[in-house]
Point group: C2
DNA sequence: GATCGCCTTGGGCGAGTGCCCAATTTCGAG
DNA sequence: CTCGAAATTGGGCACTCGCCCAAGGCGATC
């Protein structure tokens, strides 16, 4: 059916958009480079999407949503050590100048200038923090809600700084971050 | 003398640029809106600066440099409690959607796409981390170098998340962040 | 095989972009 | 007061932008 090919084009546009946001920055993604990257004619962008703005929002949101929910799935029910390994793993999976890390930061900034994106991102982060707080509660971290908020933002801050601080590697940062979980996992050093 | 007025125009352009980077994003600053904001003719931008790129770099760098060095001046020689108050104070001075916070994040992202800006920002952050580490060493924080790196990036991460997490206030985050300084200031709770 | 609706193409519109430059104003040095 | 360099103006060039649309291709249904 013809609709299937159309769906595939939509998909390719969204995938290309996510990559281009990281490469060129949110405002640097134009309809023409986007269409070229996706391998379609320039007119197709506004056939499948009402505006470039909404295309970018959807592309960023679904990419971020996939990352967050995949992480959350691994975290729920994990032991203290498994959870720490997961955080450590994500810290060297995302180096700070990889497409995913940059996409997150670009989206945070764009949310400050787009109310709709702001609402959606607020919800996505709230879901993630709730899961992170649940995990922390289950392993006995003090003040799990606030700690989850601080740890989540600290990880994003590390992504932001890492490209500007060559010696800020995951294995260096993790022992320090572990102090945030004071009282719960000290014996596991 | 005429040179004085010219210097003032250069100044106004740089100030306007810093404000516009925060408002419209790095790529959203055009020569014409910049000139209008600064109250000068559009042609003056390229009379005082070789390119828009270099103007933006200089505007961001000197603004950030002022913030960093002002903070560093207050920090050096401060007691543990004074230092903590300073950090706490900076956390509610910069809410995350104020011009200064946004400028920092915009500059971090732009540095990933501009080698010259990348080098300058790397140096600026290295200076600040060195001072922060010295302060930590002086009050007995363990692993002061790494802790300084992590705390500096965590603070920027908080700025990034704050607009998307209404309940992430300074007074909530600070007690948790204090755990990073484990062993040095516990008795000061 | 004709028909019809979804999909795709590529060009075009007005606006905005960075950068340039001839013409003009400003103002301190002689 | 005159001169000349520094500073400023505003328009123009070549290009890109988001969005639109007439035209045609495609494939499923009778």
């Amino acid at each position: 059916m013809a609709t299937q090919r159309a769906q595939e084009v939509r998909e390719r546009l969204l995938t290309a958009a996510a990559a281009l946001i990281a490469e060129r920055g949110w405002a640097g993604v134009s309809t023409r480079v986007l269409a070229e990257r996706a391998g379609v004619g320039p007119g197709l962008v506004h056939y499948h999407f009402p505006s470039l703005r909404e295309l970018l929002n959807e592309a960023a949101l679904r990419t971020m949503s996939a990352v967050v929910h995949e992480g959350a799935a691994h975290l729920s029910g994990a032991s203290a050590q498994q959870g720490l390994d997961l955080l450590l793993g994500s810290l060297d999976a995302y180096s700070g100048d990889d497409p995913t890390s940059v996409l997150f930061t670009e989206a945070y900034l764009a949310a400050g200038r787009d109310e709709e994106l702001h609402r959606a991102l607020t919800g996505l982060l709230a879901d993630f923090r709730a899961l992170l707080a649940d995990w922390m509660r289950s392993i006995g971290v003090p003040e799990p809600d606030t700690t989850a908020r601080v740890l989540a933002s600290a990880v994003d801050g590390l992504m932001l700084h890492r490209p500007l601080d060559p010696s800020l590697a995951a294995e260096a940062a993790v022992p320090v971050l572990r102090r945030l979980l004071t009282g719960a996992v000290e014996e596991q050093r």
